[in-house]
């Protein structure tokens, strides 16, 4: 399950792993086939860390997730919230 992978990676890089909540959203995305949308809830202090400078970290997570899922094209959308 990609949700577990996502949760493991994020918990590994934040200061407050106990505050990490990952959930799959049912919301439809306009692209086809629709992307998988995940909502990430984080401790306020960790939001910057997870996004990273110029979004580098969140992008890295997305790239890795796609590779793990065996996708050629990016199929995940990660939405960060505090």
């Amino acid at each position: 399950m990609m949700k577990d992978a996502l949760e493991f990676i994020i918990k590994g890089i934040v200061k407050h792993p106990e505050d990490v909540r990952v959930s799959r959203s049912d919301e439809k995305t306009p692209d086809s086939p629709p992307s998988e949308l995940y909502d990430l809830r984080l401790h306020v202090e960790d939001v910057g860390q997870v996004i990273g400078k110029d979004g580098r970290t969140i992008k890295s997570i997305n790239i890795l997730l796609n590779a793990l899922a065996g996708q050629k094209e990016e199929k995940f959308i990660l939405r960060v919230q505090r």
Binding site: G12, D54, T57, S60, I63, L64, A67, L68, G70
Partner: protein
């Protein structure tokens, strides 16, 4: 390295609690007795023992290895024969992945290795005080890529020498641009510099100008020219 003080009734108890709480294995930490403690006499003058614990790099190397192994275990094509080798030098941890079907873990232009490397570096810096870097290689990918970049740089240099016109290379990672600069430095008649903003920063090779310093690099994040805007929008 990380160092912290732990006290308990006796030195042995302190050592045990350190091992238990941090999951240290043999050889992953050292300690120094700061105070051997004293039982006192009839509880009068009794004093706790305290030790200074020094975490050794071996611990961080194991942690990085476990992190990467777990991440890869989520793969749809979980590599059965995955071998993760990790070693360290200075503040760098080198991880070497080997096994079948690892091609997809490299990604286009090493995109996926870079992503994993970036995340593993953040992971390790979360648990250590000193800045550490994780470097990951899959198979002999980086060696082959290095040779390829050297070859591209030499070929382009030849074109520049023959035509007298400068040539732009495709955007590259910082370590790849460094290889180009090093290669160009060793060829007379050409010089190189980097241009553009990350992640679209690229190398320009041009004919060597007399009386100029051979190797120059434009300031990072300097002037954005029209081309950079276009590539960032695209």
């Amino acid at each position: 390295m990380k160092e912290f003080v732990v006290s308990a009734k006796t030195v042995e108890e302190a050592v045990d609690s350190v091992k238990r709480e941090n999951g240290f294995r043999e050889g992953e930490f050292e300690y120094r007795v700061e105070d051997p403690g004293s039982r006192g006499f009839l509880k009068i003058g009794s004093r706790n023992a305290s030790i200074s614990v020094i975490v050794r790099t071996e611990y961080y190397v194991r942690k990085v290895k476990e992190f990467i192994e777990t991440v890869l275990s989520f793969s749809k094509y979980a590599p059965q024969s995955l071998a993760v080798k990790a070693e360290h030098r200075d503040a760098k941890i080198f991880v070497h992945l080997d096994g079948a079907h690892l091609g997809r873990m490299i990604g286009k232009h090493g995109k996926t290795i870079s992503a994993l490397q970036h995340l593993a570096t953040i992971f390790i810096n979360r648990i250590t005080d000193t800045k550490m870097t994780v470097l990951i290689d899959v198979g002999d990918y980086k060696d082959r890529r290095k040779e390829l970049i050297k070859r591209i740089a030499r070929n382009k240099a030849l074109t520049v020498i023959q035509t007298g016109k400068s040539v732009q290379l495709d955007p590259m990672f910082a370590f790849e641009r460094r290889i180009v600069h090093e290669t160009i430095k060793s060829i007379s008649g050409v010089q190189s510099f980097s241009k553009g903003l990350e992640p679209y920063r690229y190398v320009v090779i041009e004919p060597e100008k007399k009386g100029r310093r051979k190797h120059r690099t434009s300031p990072k994040g300097g002037v954005i020219d029209f081309e950079d805007h276009r590539s960032q929008a695209g």
